[in-house]
C-alpha cells in the first residue's frame, strides 16, 4: 500500500510541476530560444563556410545544450523554496529522493525533450553531416537527463544563496565535462561514419549512475539548504 501511495505522491508532484510550467507557457520557450541563439552566434563569428562549421557542429551544439540546461535548472527549486512548499516536501513521509526525481523528471520533460527535438534543426544550421544526426539525438537523449540530474545537486546546494547563478555554473560545469566529452565525440565520430557504440554505452552508464545517486545527493543538499 505504501508503494502505491509513494507512486501517487510522485505522480502528483510530477503533474503539478508540469501544469505550473504550462501555466507560464511563455517562459518555456526561453531555454530553447537561448539554445538556438547561441548556436546561431557561431556562424556569425566564424563565417558561413560549411567546411569550418561542420567539424565544430557537434561540440557547439552540445556546449549550447549544456548552457541552456544549466540556465534553466536555476529555477528548479526556487519557487518552492520561496513559498515554503520545499519545506513541506522535506517533511513528507516519502523518501525525498523519489520526490526530487519527480521534479527533475518534470524539468527534463520541459527543457530537455524540446532540446532533443530542436537539435536536428541546429544540425542543419551548422552543416552537421547527415550520418551524425541520429547520434546527435541519441546523445542528447542519454545526456540531457544526466545534465538535469547532476545539475539538480548544484541547484539544491545553492538554493538559499543570493544570486547563486554564477556559483552554480562553477559547481556544475566541471561535473558536466564527462558528458560533454563523450557526447560530442559520439556525434563527431558518427558524422564521419565511424562506430559510436563505446561512447553511447558510456553515456548510458553515466545515466544509470546519475539516476541511482543524484536524487539522493540532491535530497541531502536540499535538507541542508532548507535547514
Amino acid at each position: 500500500m505504501t508503494g502505491f501511495r509513494l507512486f501517487t505522491a510522485f505522480y502528483t508532484l510530477l503533474r503539478r510541476d508540469l501544469l505550473m510550467a504550462f501555466r507560464h507557457r511563455g517562459e518555456l520557450a526561453n531555454p530553447l530560444l537561448f539554445f538556438v541563439l547561441v548556436v546561431s552566434l557561431f556562424p556569425l563569428a566564424l563565417g558561413p563556410d560549411s567546411r569550418t562549421l561542420a567539424p565544430l557542429a557537434p561540440g557547439v551544439i552540445w556546449v549550447a545544450a549544456l548552457l541552456a540546461s544549466m540556465l534553466s535548472l536555476e529555477g528548479l527549486f526556487r519557487s518552492d523554496f520561496d513559498d515554503g512548499a520545499l519545506e513541506q516536501l522535506l517533511l513528507s513521509p516519502h523518501p525525498v529522493a523519489v520526490l526530487v526525481f519527480a521534479k527533475v523528471l518534470a524539468h527534463w520533460l520541459i527543457t530537455g525533450v524540446p532540446l532533443i527535438v530542436l537539435a536536428p534543426l541546429l544540425g542543419v544550421l551548422l552543416h552537421l553531416p547527415q550520418p551524425g544526426m541520429p547520434a546527435l539525438m541519441l546523445s542528447l537523449l542519454l545526456g540531457t537527463p544526466v545534465l538535469s540530474l547532476v545539475g539538480s545537486i548544484g541547484v539544491a546546494l545553492t538554493v538559499g544563496v543570493r544570486r547563486g547563478g554564477l556559483l552554480l555554473s562553477l559547481l556544475i560545469l566541471p561535473l558536466y565535462v564527462p558528458v560533454l566529452i563523450f557526447a560530442a565525440s559520439a556525434v563527431g565520430d558518427a558524422a564521419h561514419g565511424l562506430q559510436v557504440g563505446a561512447q553511447l554505452t558510456f553515456l548510458a552508464a553515466m545515466l544509470v549512475l546519475a539516476l541511482r545517486l543524484a536524487p539522493i545527493a540532491t535530497g541531502a543538499a536540499l535538507r541542508i539548504s532548507v535547514g
Binding site: 546546494l157 538559499g160 544563496v161
Partner: protein, 245 residues
C-alpha cells in the same frame, strides 16, 4: 585507539595535540625539502632528452600529487563530518581547501612553464593538465560555496556534500579526459619518456613529495587551530588560553 580518535574530535584536545605536532611536521618538511632540492637541482643528472629543463618536475609533480591527495583528505574529512557529525572533521576539510587549490594552481603554472621549452607552447591540453584545471574549478567551487552560505553549520554540510559528489566524479572526469586526449592527440606527456626513471632522479622526487605532504600537514593544523579558537571562543578553555597568548 578509540580514545585517541575521540580526543582528536574534541576541539580542545585537538588544539593542544596539533600544537605539539606542528614543530615536528615543520622541521621534517624543511629537512626533506632541502634534501630534495639538493638532490633534484644538483645531484640528479640532466635528462637525456630534456636537459636541465626536466628539473621542473621536482615542483610540478609533487604539487600535482598534493592537489589530489588534499582533495581526497577533504572528501574523507567531509564524509567523517557528515556521517559521525564531528565538527573537527568539517574544520579540517574547510582548512584544506585553500591549500589544495594553491597546489593545483602551482601544478598548472609549472606544467605550463615546463611545456614551453618542451613542446613549444605555454599550454597543451594534455590529460594531466586538463584534469588539473578541472580540479582547480572543483576546489574553487567548494571554496565559493563555503563562502556563500552564511550559517557555518550549513556551509560545512553543504560543502561536504559537494566534496563527496566531486570525489566520486573525479575518477570519471579523469578517465573521460584521458580518453579524450588519446583520441585527439595520441601522445601523452609522460614525465620521462619510455625509459625507466633513474634512481638518482626518482629519489629527490619522492623526497619533495614527502616534504610537500608534511608541509600540508603543518599548514592545515595551523589553520585548524585558529579555526578552533574562533569556533570555541565562548568556551572556558579558550578564554583562559587567550589570556596567556
Amino acid at each position: 585507539m578509540w580514545t585517541f580518535i575521540h580526543r582528536l574530535a574534541s576541539p580542545k584536545h585537538f588544539y593542544h595535540l596539533a600544537g605539539r605536532m606542528i614543530p615536528w611536521f615543520a622541521w621534517g618538511c624543511a629537512l626533506l625539502m632541502v634534501a630534495g632540492l639538493i638532490g633534484g637541482l644538483w645531484f640528479a643528472p640532466p635528462d637525456y632528452q630534456q636537459g636541465d629543463g626536466f628539473r621542473i618536475i621536482y615542483v610540478h609533480v609533487p604539487a600535482a600529487w598534493m592537489s589530489l591527495f588534499i582533495y581526497a583528505v577533504m572528501a574523507g574529512a567531509s564524509a567523517v563530518g557528515i556521517i559521525w557529525k564531528i565538527k573537527m572533521a568539517d574544520i579540517i576539510a574547510a582548512c584544506s581547501a585553500p591549500i589544495g587549490a594553491s597546489f593545483t594552481f602551482l601544478a598548472l603554472v609549472t606544467g605550463s612553464l615546463w611545456g614551453k621549452p618542451m613542446w613549444g607552447t605555454y599550454w597543451v591540453w594534455d590529460a594531466r593538465l586538463t584534469s588539473e584545471l578541472i580540479l582547480l574549478f572543483l576546489y574553487l567551487g567548494y571554496m565559493g560555496l563555503q563562502a556563500a552560505i552564511e550559517d557555518r553549520q550549513n556551509a560545512a554540510r553543504a560543502s561536504a556534500v559537494l566534496a563527496l559528489v566531486g570525489v566520486i566524479n573525479l575518477p570519471i572526469i579523469h578517465y573521460s579526459v584521458v580518453w579524450w586526449n588519446t583520441l585527439h592527440q595520441g601522445a601523452t606527456v609522460s614525465v620521462f619518456g619510455k625509459d625507466d626513471i633513474a634512481t638518482s632522479m626518482l629519489i629527490p622526487l619522492l623526497l619533495m613529495g614527502l616534504a610537500f605532504t608534511l608541509f600540508y600537514a603543518t599548514i592545515v593544523l595551523m589553520r585548524a587551530r585558529t579555526a578552533v579558537l574562533e569556533q570555541e571562543r565562548r568556551s572556558q578553555w579558550v578564554r583562559e588560553l587567550i589570556k596567556s597568548l
